[in-house]
Symmetry: C2
Subunit: 415 residues, 2 copies
């Protein structure tokens, strides 16, 4: 088979680099805290930059602090085939989220170089700035950053986004220069841990991502009448919590009834005055809805609004809906999905198609060029946790699929 | 008609005394804060004691600090016909809750005395200690106080119950001596504001109370699995809030389905971790159920337990039920209810029968002797509030019904 003659990544080398990076920001309890813009973030960037140079890449960083390693191709004018992810973590993170995508990208380049291979297109490995919070790196590159509203980017470590960017060699005023287009980046492929349990439960090695879901968030405030839980007969009540309970169940039912299998969650719910002997007068709750299709999100919202109108009337309460975060979905390019599928078939790796229901740098980059994502399993679906785990074999399989996908895209995309 | 020849209370005098007492503990915002055992409580007791003496009563206080005014009857050995209520308030109370019952009792005695009337039975007007919190006064008199567990009585103002009783002339060690029986108290009739909106909505002047409801409280803890609201498909969730919502609606449905019209409330509900993007892992909520019939309460609890078993199975959660406060209902004596009804009919006052769904001193005193309660309307059903209001006319009507009820019970009960 042709596959056998192809180069293979060095799994030991890849996993050694994952282990090495996991030491940066490691807490006594085993969790990793490597927030963007901190000394730990800089230490990790420094290490990754060295590995990029050692792998034969030229390295530069843009105005958003994105670190970009470039492995030249054979056709000078060809747009890049890009890969990468992020190396910042949440406050109690694990070793794989983001990191795998960056280090597998570097391992792909190492593999090409030691096999004396160059693609026609240059390969770029990108470390995006602050994926876990502001997403300023991928937004700047996609041209979706709010250039006139720096105050909308509140770095987790405090201070202004301007100062934070400065600390990692970026430059807020020049942020527009970080923008990329399809002309200079033909495609972007991101390898990432699933952060969910679908692959583990369906026993698949690889997830071929159909797209990154969009998100609609709303805050719902229900105003009834706080009253004595003893002296107020059932038929004289305006119980905000009874209305809220109906909304919680409506949100679940709406998600379950849609054929595209969206998710919808009431994650936060607060009751006032919240006393055992007082009928709840006010409840505030949040709704978070996610799906690959904006039309589906719109329809869910419309149905929720209808339900809320009926619930308000039935419970004699006033219900107000306040808009929150709204992010449009990004679909993976069909030819990249098909390429990843074909690679899995040829390598004999089990796989399934699935949406990414968490946000990623790909969500933004997919707005300017063709995008694809490769998932590997997360044990017990855990992420953003010190217990986050993907086995060395699974990491190596992901990097192998990334390598062969980029090699095939090199043939697919014109130079 | 015979009624016309009967003595009538002095409404102006009654309402003047209510207004005078409302000055004790009045806050700048108009609310009244007269917590038991505070200097304000003592100031109010001092004033009430003077009024009792001026009305021709002998006065003493028992080991629980209950203040007892006694207007002698014509038959030396006759047991007392007792009335009264409390003069302590919640931290932001109003002028009528409790106070009306005490001051109307004093007004009844004043009226009898100025008409040169004595009943065969002595009349007692009782100010019970700390109705709004520990209920130590009525419990001591009913013999239901936990004599071996003073730590179970935590006064709202801090300190020990022993020290608090001492401050108002009581004595914890002698608490058993406060106990009364049917032998020395033939009946107890309490006039009180409704603290609900039934009389106002049904446009009735007087409520003939059928009894004080019993109460069952439970804390319910639901344990699911906190998880990423994006990456966890709907069918892999163990959402504690979805389970909680089903319980909230089940509690409401169970109350609505019972013919005796009980009330049931989920007043407090707390979600963990309570974040917009995390499926709730734990929910703790309280259930408060009240009804005149203990059998009804037991059946409601049994049905709730059945529902919880089904909800736990359907939502893949663990649900634990922890017992809380449990108070048995006390029914009003049928002949006292009938007497109050007859008085209303003879006086031409509109009335209805209704349960008291709030706790009262009568709840405890009804365990040792015949008990009855008279309600007058609360504007908008408000109580435990600076906006608590019952009109002077309504207060006077209540006192009038109390006077005539006691006079008829004097004929009804043997000496």
């Amino acid at each position: 088979m042709a596959v056998l003659s192809l180069p293979t990544v060095n799994g030991d080398r890849l996993n050694a680099s994952i282990s090495r990076l996991a030491k940066v920001g490691k807490l006594p309890n085993g969790e990793i805290c490597r927030l963007a813009f901190t000394p730990e973030d800089l230490q990790a960037r420094y290490l990754v930059q060295q590995w990029m140079v050692e792998a034969g890449m030229t390295v530069h960083s843009d105005a958003a602090g994105n670190l970009i390693g470039r492995y030249a191709g054979t056709v000078d004018s060809a747009p890049a085939l890009a890969t990468g992810s992020h190396i910042d973590t949440v406050p109690s993170g694990g070793p794989y989220d983001g990191v795998l995508g960056v280090l597998a990208g570097i391992e792909v380049v190492r593999t090409l170089r030691e096999n004396n291979l160059r693609l026609k297109h240059p390969i770029e490995v990108i470390v995006f700035t602050d994926e876990e919070s502001s997403m300023i790196g991928c937004q700047a590159m996609a041209g979706t950053a709010l250039l006139r509203s720096p105050e909308r980017y509140q770095p987790k470590i405090g201070g202004s986004i301007q100062d934070c960017l400065e600390a990692i060699g970026g430059n807020w005023k020049g942020l527009a220069s970080a923008r990329r287009t399809r002309e200079d980046m033909a495609a972007f492929v991101e390898l990432h841990v699933e952060q969910g349990a679908v692959l583990e439960r369906t026993k698949k090695a690889i997830g071929v991502v159909q797209g990154v879901v969009g998100m609609l968030r709303k805050t719902i405030t229900i105003t009834g009448q706080a009253n004595h839980a003893g002296t107020t007969p059932m038929n004289m009540r305006q119980d905000a919590l009874v209305a809220a309970a109906q909304i919680v169940l409506a949100v679940q039912q709406i998600a379950l009834s849609m054929p595209s299998e969206p998710v919808a969650t009431v994650g936060s719910l607060t009751v006032l005055p919240n006393a055992v002997n007082i009928i709840p007068g006010t409840v505030e709750l949040t709704v978070d809805m996610r799906d690959l299709s904006q039309e589906c999100l719109n329809e869910m919202l419309e149905r929720l609004q209808q339900e809320i109108t009926a619930i308000a009337a039935a419970t004699d309460t006033t219900i107000e809906l306040t808009p929150g975060l709204s992010v449009r979905p990004t679909l993976a390019a069909p030819q990249i999905q098909a390429t990843i599928e074909a690679v899995c078939q040829d390598l004999g790796f089990s796989y399934c198609l699935l949406p990414s229901r968490a946000g990623h740098d790909s969500l933004e980059i997919g707005r300017i060029t063709d995008m694809g994502m490769i998932f590997v399993p997360s044990q017990a679906g855990l992420s953003h946790s010190g217990e986050e785990y993907t086995s060395p074999e699974q990491c190596t399989q992901g990097a192998t699929v990334l390598l062969h996908t980029l090699m095939r895209l090199d043939e697919l995309y014109p130079c």
